[in-house]
Symmetry: C3
Subunit: 355 residues, 3 copies
Amino acid sequence: MLDFNTLNAEQWDSLCDTADLIRKNPGDYADARRGMVMATLFYEPSTRTQLSFQSAMLRLGGQVIGFSDPGNSSVAKGESLRDTIKIVSNYSDVIVIRNPLEGAAFAASLYSPAPVINAGDGGHLHPTQTMADLYTLRRELGRCDGLNIGVCGDLLNGRTVHSLLSALCKYKNNKFYLISTPALRIPGYCVDELRASGAEFCEVNTIEECVSGLDMLYMTRIQRERFISAEEYNRQAGIYVLTADKLKTAKRELIIMHPLPKVDEISPEVDDDPRAKYFEQAKNGLYIRMALILRLTEGGGLVNRAPKNCVYAIPNERLCQNPRCVTAHEKYLPALTLKRDTPYCEYCGHKIMHN
Amino acid sequence: MLDFNTLNAEQWDSLCDTADLIRKNPGDYADARRGMVMATLFYEPSTRTQLSFQSAMLRLGGQVIGFSDPGNSSVAKGESLRDTIKIVSNYSDVIVIRNPLEGAAFAASLYSPAPVINAGDGGHLHPTQTMADLYTLRRELGRCDGLNIGVCGDLLNGRTVHSLLSALCKYKNNKFYLISTPALRIPGYCVDELRASGAEFCEVNTIEECVSGLDMLYMTRIQRERFISAEEYNRQAGIYVLTADKLKTAKRELIIMHPLPKVDEISPEVDDDPRAKYFEQAKNGLYIRMALILRLTEGGGLVNRAPKNCVYAIPNERLCQNPRCVTAHEKYLPALTLKRDTPYCEYCGHKIMHN
Amino acid sequence: MLDFNTLNAEQWDSLCDTADLIRKNPGDYADARRGMVMATLFYEPSTRTQLSFQSAMLRLGGQVIGFSDPGNSSVAKGESLRDTIKIVSNYSDVIVIRNPLEGAAFAASLYSPAPVINAGDGGHLHPTQTMADLYTLRRELGRCDGLNIGVCGDLLNGRTVHSLLSALCKYKNNKFYLISTPALRIPGYCVDELRASGAEFCEVNTIEECVSGLDMLYMTRIQRERFISAEEYNRQAGIYVLTADKLKTAKRELIIMHPLPKVDEISPEVDDDPRAKYFEQAKNGLYIRMALILRLTEGGGLVNRAPKNCVYAIPNERLCQNPRCVTAHEKYLPALTLKRDTPYCEYCGHKIMHN
């Protein structure tokens, strides 16, 4: 599971059904993966995500090995990602990888006989977070279409938001309210994708001006260092803090989501509002991860492999110019490009420029 | 399990009985908690305590997730203790927390549907260590009353000693010998508690002057930096090192205890003395922790919740002036105070001053 | 399991047979050690080895506790190795230890009722790596005698190579090609051991001059800092990089091994050569470790204890002059020496000089 968008609607529905079943009768699954071992390779720390994956595997009766500190791993000795994966896949039945390089999980999957789950590859993708988000929408609102959706915070740098918008604009009749400062608007490629999908959307400056019509409000962190100056931050930050007051005009059926951890962007009293669903969302993340592990380890069809219609170039002819792409650091990787009119790097998704 | 003193005698006896049973027939308990997950949230490192809790849960057939390095946790991103607990309690059936802030475990328990075990909250409490100590007394001497008890070392700063004295002075007819340098005598509030209990006690300067009458000698570390000067340390340190020589006049039935790890305060040859029980004490810690986890996860009555007779103040009216209290750092916490004549902070136990 | 050489041929064959059985029918062993706990005490990081041991125990149905960061352990508080072992052996049924001090695993075994496995003690021994190597030879070539064996790289400092040579020269009719720069030749004591065994060997400068006759080529890392100067490194390093080109004259039945992790010493295209067996070797390491844990925890006879024919000296009469020996740091250790004509330190294997 490398990219949420490779799942079709039927696969996704089936995964959600499984998550519902596990939630209802966890005891039925307590031995489902007994004897299996999951490896969690966390090249950068993420306690939340790692604990969620570990708990998911343990509650299926499986076991967990792994590391969470790159300083302690063989990587510190200069081992290639390929070697690490080839060896760890001998020790485990499924690999969960988090890596700051974009496309690292995809690169890992090229060398792993065991299924690979992307738990975040730099600013690129974090598909199990998107799954938790959409599964929450499904559970709380019963659908993912025909919704008025507000996303608020740092829309420029928020990977979670990009993935969520990309997934939701594939559903019909959603309208998006993009709430941010002018300097933190969503990047051009997201706007392009929204337009291409035909979805309705508008960019607004405050929560107040759109909250009354929303079915879902997705909050994210605004980082102090993203503002031009400290004064600018102090002047603006409060605008994007969700308070009980700002929710006065909101619908009773609204749901409030957040990828967590949150810091100051949601006022503590909102936690007690029944419309706050972010802790529920974290819980849903556990069940959808259990469903995903269950599916991948039954030898099912979700596993992404090197696509058939790709061009293999010799290793040192790197095509992608993105400096954060995994191909910039792991030089042996084959230069894959899909045969499409506009070629995108198969690892990190960046457009490939030809001179 | 936040504070040993909240257990009544009957609950404590029942816990010891369970520990005895587990010790006798560990195989009967090997699947007792299969399918359950324990989270160990260690905000400061303590290998000893963490390994003991992990082993306890694993030997009950359960599983363990957690962290031991605050740098890797979401706390580093500024997440509140409340949020961490709300999320982790979704992933686990019981939470073990160690935190440098006094009252942190109690604060955690306010937000956790899962039972919370205090594995040390700063200089405040460490109830499972006290349990290991008292369970050892019960096993080795058959009782916790009518004993001559020596405690030796840094009595001013030793949390373990404070908790032990507090627990033992509730038993009848114990006499305490408090062995330390004048500068490292036990703090005033401990003296108050001993006096209030009616227990007999005296402060002495050397092990030799009281060892012959002791039933139990509890050794603790003296840290070099606690002394006024290096000369003072060199002159005095040897006085508080237990050697075979100093044990010459001791009873054959004496037991020697230590919370471990020890450094130089017990001479290596004492390890081979049959009266040295500190390794046995560590082993007892494992069994009493198994008993505790077993009890808490059967939905029993040991769980501490926010007391019913408390006053909830608005969050920013903090009552406790202790700078190491968890309420000084987690600003949203309700200001709880028991309706007692002298109000104590319900989190950290410090007396609350009124201006 | 402290030293591979303490195994006799029969014990080793039986261990390999068990590993073969596990490999064939892993399901038969999935519950073999259910209810048991292994402690992995890693005083220096080694992700590879630790993950392999953890996976081995988990696949036998057992559980794992431990640490991988000395900074987080009680050692940081000055606890002796003896105390750590005495306590941890209460929590676990088998102990795996990696420690930078030579002889540390042997020292640990003196105080542990649970069997101790040496996972590397400084520059001294790493018996489970040697087991993985010999088990791979047995599986791939069907025998460990009558072979032409090349070992290439930093032969002066490579612990893995010393152990491998020591083990292989006990088999008949092996011929060794020692491929290195003059400055990185194997140390005198290894040469002595080869000579004493009667094995044929020669020292050569390049892979090319001997590769065509080899049955096995064992590659190791050359570290840049081992060279006298950067120019010297740049001039020489390429000589010890294995490329497809250098393998042109090699036999079809050759096997290429490497203890891993590798960095630049094997060119990426060699990975796809069917003669490259290093990933297979890592996999074999898992199965032979499973077999070893299985054997040790059935109460079998592999456990090394303090030898009967030893002289116990008083602790502060340390005999061994090796500054990296565990006896130089853990002062309480008994000064063991076997009654042999030439006395060797029983901990680290160094010759003991008498003044």
